[in-house]
């Protein structure tokens, strides 16, 4: 199998158009009271971490969430933490702003609220929930 990721710089390079094919599983979610939410108003905040595989390479992505007006929302989308570098059709790295949009849409296609955070809100720490 071709090996494209985890290059010496640590990135797993994935073409943007196939990002949705990468399957993720929930690793861990936690409440985190130190997370600042723009505009405030979040009653509860936390993180969620997911892992996956792309051509035998381990993909990692995590983001912050908050409960705002009773809704679980992704907060600080510019601070999505990952080792993924999205690649354009021309083979170059996607501009950061575009990569952020792709990652945001990908995240929002995942069942992360029901699969991780809602469970967490009922307990203390949410671990290893399968997608």
């Amino acid at each position: 199998m071709q090996r494209e990721g985890n290059t010496p710089d640590g990135f797993v390079r994935i073409p943007s158009e196939v990002l949705a094919e990468v399957e993720l599983r929930h690793l861990i979610s936690e409440k985190d009271v130190t997370i600042a939410v723009p505009g405030g108003g979040a009653s509860i905040t936390g993180i969620t971490e997911w892992v996956g595989q792309w051509r035998n390479q381990t993909v990692s992505i995590g983001w912050d969430w908050g409960v705002v007006d009773g809704l679980i929302v992704l907060v600080n989308p510019s601070e999505i933490r990952t080792n993924i570098q999205l690649i354009s059709r021309t083979g170059s790295a996607e501009p950061p702003a575009l990569a952020q949009i792709h990652l945001f849409h990908w995240i929002e296609s995942l069942p992360w609220r029901s699969g991780a955070v809602e469970e967490l809100l009922a307990g203390e720490r949410s671990l290893n929930k399968q997608r």
């Binding site: 985890n6 010496p8 710089d9 640590g10 990135f11 690793l27 861990i28 936690e30 985190d32 009271v33 130190t34 997370i35 600042a36 939410v37 905040t45 993180i47 971490e49 892992v51 390479q57 381990t58 990692s60 995590g62 912050d64 600080n76 510019s78 601070e79 933490r81 990952t82 080792n83 570098q85």
Partner: protein, 209 residues
């Protein structure tokens, strides 16, 4: 005037090296309560060899206000030996131009608890000095083991860092290994100077801003 000193234990004065180990003891052992090897008021470990490079900042009274340690990945270093789970199957980075940043600390000013908006300006200033030092030594990339909370704040500050693999719980704290691109530094954003922060994980790098 603040004075920045860089070099290994042979290039820096023994007095400054001793003060640095005392400073690390003060920050990591006494203040942050990390479980580290410490005797007679100094903190020193097996990675403090002649291969380690230090970056030490002193104030106009010769008191240390910040320090950091750089370890070559061509020799023993912390990530593969103490935190192999953070590599998650990735190859262990080993290259002459990849070094590990650890024992990163700046003086602490106590503040209240609360939501953390940013790394402090002294912390970012010192990080920039460390990156400039790395650049002078032809280091292209730094490995940094830290909490995901600090990872978030580094991204917010524009530090060109990305994770090597998934985080893992280490002593109850979600910890992650990062690459910091040395050549792309400069983009650090200004931040309030009043924030106090533990910048990394026990036994790894660390900080209090």
């Amino acid at each position: 005037m603040p004075n920045l000193s860089t070099g290994n234990c042979r290039q820096l004065s023994s007095a400054l090296i001793h003060l640095m180990h005392e400073f690390r003891h003060e920050v990591f052992v006494k203040r942050l309560k990390w479980s580290l090897p410490a005797t007679d008021g100094v903190e020193r470990d097996q990675y403090d060899t002649s291969s380690a490079k230090y970056v030490v900042l002193t104030d106009d009274t010769d008191r240390i206000t910040a320090c950091a340690r750089l370890l070559p990945t061509m020799e023993n270093y912390m990530l593969p030996e103490l935190f192999p789970q953070l590599l998650s199957g990735c190859d262990t980075p080993r290259a002459p131009n990849i070094w590990e940043l650890s024992r990163f600390a700046t003086s602490v000013r106590e503040t209240g608890e609360g939501r953390i908006l940013a790394l402090s300006k002294p912390t970012l200033d010192f990080l920039e000095q460390v990156l400039e030092c790395a650049q002078r030594h032809n280091i292209r990339r730094l490995i940094f083991v830290t909490s995901i909370g600090v990872e978030r704040l580094m991204l917010r500050a524009g530090v060109p860092a990305h994770r090597i693999g998934p985080p893992a719980l280490v002593d109850g704290q979600l910890t992650v290994a990062l690459f910091i691109e040395v050549e792309k530094e400069k983009a650090v954003a200004p931040a309030p100077a009043h924030i106090t922060l533990d910048m990394s994980h026990p036994s790894a790098a660390g900080v209090a801003a």
